[in-house]
């Protein structure tokens, strides 16, 4: 059975949703990984949202120095699929696995809304199932989701198809309406919206399901 690691830091609070997403969306085994673990033995990794270490210093900053992140870096360098959602995205930029940075929303307030996104790259393991330009709805819930990078970085992102999700109605001031990006190799993805909160027809949107189904297809295609 496929195994997907869900990293738990002190203060993570979307870990239970991520675990459920692995079980429902991937029908895989969710493996909780503790922030002090130094090794990883799973097929993919989710860095869930929340307030790791209480967002002290900067969101994601302290978590990026934890033992598990050294292991995540090795896993990513070897091509393993990694997705960071919300605080997980902040941890990925803080640890240098993804370029750019996430600043305070331009409204300076926390924003919790269901928002509309365009999928702008389906070259990642997490977006294979989407059509290019597909419009989806996912919830956002963050105070620091304003993606900023210098112009050269933004152009590189564009050229390499690393811009994965863009807002249709920018809520937080992000450069180029960026909601999610990948690394150059496309195996590491970070996004502010929450696909793991959008899995069931009972609630407002189930568009997040395709993120996990894409990952499933990707993992099953691996030798």
């Amino acid at each position: 059975m496929l195994r997907v690691g869900v990293v738990i830091f002190p203060g993570s609070n979307c870990d239970l949703d991520a675990i459920r997403a692995v079980e429902i969306g991937l029908r895989a085994k969710a493996v909780p990984l503790w922030h002090k673990d130094a090794t990883i033995d799973t097929d993919a990794i989710i860095l869930p949202g929340g307030f790791s270490y209480g967002d002290y210093l900067r969101p994601g900053s302290i978590a990026s120095h934890s033992p598990i992140m050294q292991a995540v870096k090795r896993f990513a360098v070897n091509g393993g699929p990694v997705i960071g959602i919300c605080n997980g995205f902040q941890i990925l930029t803080e640890s240098g696995l993804l370029p750019g940075t996430l600043l305070r929303n331009t409204t300076t307030r926390f924003i919790s809304q269901d928002i509309s996104l365009l999928v702008t790259s389906n070259q990642t393991p997490f977006t294979k199932h989407f059509a290019m330009g597909q419009r989806i709805t996912l919830p956002i819930a963050h105070k620091d989701g304003n993606y900023q990078a210098d112009p050269a970085t933004l152009h590189t992102l564009q050229e390499n198809h690393q811009i994965v999700f863009q807002y249709t109605d920018n809520p937080n001031g992000s450069h180029w309406d960026i909601a999610g990006i990948s690394n150059k190799e496309h195996n590491v993805v970070g996004l502010m919206p929450h696909p793991e909160r959008a899995l069931s027809d009972w609630i407002r949107t189930s568009d997040g399901l395709q993120v996990f189904q894409s990952l499933l297809a990707h993992l099953e295609a691996q030798p």
Partner: protein, 714 residues
Amino acid sequence: MNPKLLKELNLHPSDYHEIVRRLKKEPKLVELGLFSAMWSEHCSYRSSKRYLSQLYTKGEQVIEGPGENAGVIRLTDSLYITFKVESHNHPSAVEPFQGAATGVGGIIRDIFTMGARPIAGMDSLHFDYPSSPRSRYLLNGVVEGISFYGNCVGVPTIGGETHFASCYDENPLVNAMVVGILDKKNLRRSIAKTPGATVIYLGAKTGRDGLHGASFASGVLDEDRKQRKGSVQVGDPFLEKLLIEATLEIIQEDLVEAIQDMGAAGITSSSVEMAGKGELGIRIDLQKVPRREPGITPIEIMLSESQERMLLIAKQGKEGRIQEILDKWELDYAEIGVITETGCIEIFTDDTCHCNVPIKLLLDPPENTTKPIRNPRIKTTVPNVPSNIPVDQTESFLCQQLKNPNFGSKNWIHDQYDSTLYASTIEKPGLGPSCIHIPETDHFVGMTLLSRGELCSIDPYEGAKTVCAIAARRITSLGLTPAAITNCLNFGDPTQEHTMWEFSETIKGMNDALSVLKSPVVSGNVSFYNEGEKQRIYPTPVIGMIGTGTLRTKPILSFPKSDLICAVVGKTKKEYLQTDSIPRIDILVEKKTQDVIREFVLESHVSSCISVDRGGLWYAIVKSMLPKHIGLHIHKIFHEFTPASYLMSESNSRYLITFPAEYLDRIQNQLKGVAPLDIIGKTIENRFIIEDVMELSISSIEQLHQQSLTHYLQ
């Protein structure tokens, strides 16, 4: 005795004499401190106890009624729901951000203490009109505080209410409700069982913050008290998150025999109450209590209200495993005492005894015997709703209503709260009742938190009945069945006869409604002294109702599509909120109508269903139109009403429903003998039309609705 000390402790001289009489000696300083906290209105319910004991609290769904940290009801054979509402009015009046934040933190602790994971929160907030700068300051601070704490600790805030009236100028109300879910085997109580058991302190270190918080909330807020910012605690949601995970792990491994959070009056109330409920004693060694700073005195340790602390009584031999779990979460662990057979609370530093008093005495203060008598000279002012609005003023009147922040959009507030964590919130907040899906089951939990202070101020009995009826009406619109309630009773000074009259009428009204609606009270909180030097608040009972049930399709409150018949269920009468009268409520009609409406929703005979309450039909229509921009063409003949006075009627027991034409006969038949069906029009795209009277686009309605609050805040 030193009168200055008594004032500092907010202890009345007559109480002091009673303490001396009962102890048959002068109390030591720490003993006096314990009495001041435990006999405070906040901890002891000395004014309200006799009324609360009359509440309707029984039901076969009830697992744990009032008296525990939170009430518990059965959801399925293996799952329970626990919930409670609590006030943090006085701290929020002085320091809105921390007052609200720690209010949320406190009520969350009440929930996980029961062994439950907190899964949803709601807030009931009352302020002066936002045209007042102080009101805006309080609103901003309170909303930011709730957002800061709730989002970080990981409890989604999925609804609630915010109201504005000038009587809340000096005393804003900040009431927070939290709902938790638990496996029935994890239910824990706060009753000490075994003499010799170790008492363990966990969580944050004890500091000087929140000193005398319980007695602070037990007096009128005057200038002197407003200076007491030191009485307001400081919250750390990150620490609370660790405490939730550690506590739930400890409970799941069955390591404790009793557990309680340290809320008002900190170590004092948690130790006294746990030992007292088990008719046992407790011995505490203050040397062992983790402290934030040196030099804290024994009385300060005992009365500190530092946040994010818990007291638990270990099962024998399990102390080591508890310590391991706390080490994992990097939380303070200290064995500070032991359960005894003495029936007394003994407090030591090494060999020095600071306190040795029978717990019975601490838990049994003299009752406040103020008689409940109406004072006819106390007049209340409410914004009157005009009963006859001329036809040519229909549009301007209805638009004016949209600009009223009491009726307008609260998205500015809701959008600052994480409402989608746990992936089970059916709709975003703002439509009235909230509903969550319990994953992996076909069970749903509906919840609503509401009040109608202005009705209660005119007639507290009918007002309280109406609030309970509205709560059940909202739950019914989801297709769910009212299961139980929690209440937060916000009132003025309990030493005033008029306040106690309002209070006793409220209790009667709630009982008369809840016994018919089969919705017992399982938890609650009383907040007196919401009275400033110039103003007293409306008597404001806040009701939090939980509904349960299974659904085959998702409940739909707003208009889903055009070309549906739109109708009002229930009789619309010329009833409006006025200074001398409020809309009548017939609770039997309410119940009968609810039972039919629930069938409609469950059998999918209706395409949408929303209950009609504050703001009448007009507000129900507005809420129904906005989500999908599906409008309404009203072609009804209004008979004795003008159009706007029809739409503004606040008659009770009504719903706004839509359905396809083919269901008309069936719906009419089922309503026979229960409630009239008044067909008012058809749903249409993008517009609101009253035939021959007015026409507006939904986007213009939406704009007015959105700006009603935000235009004050920008």
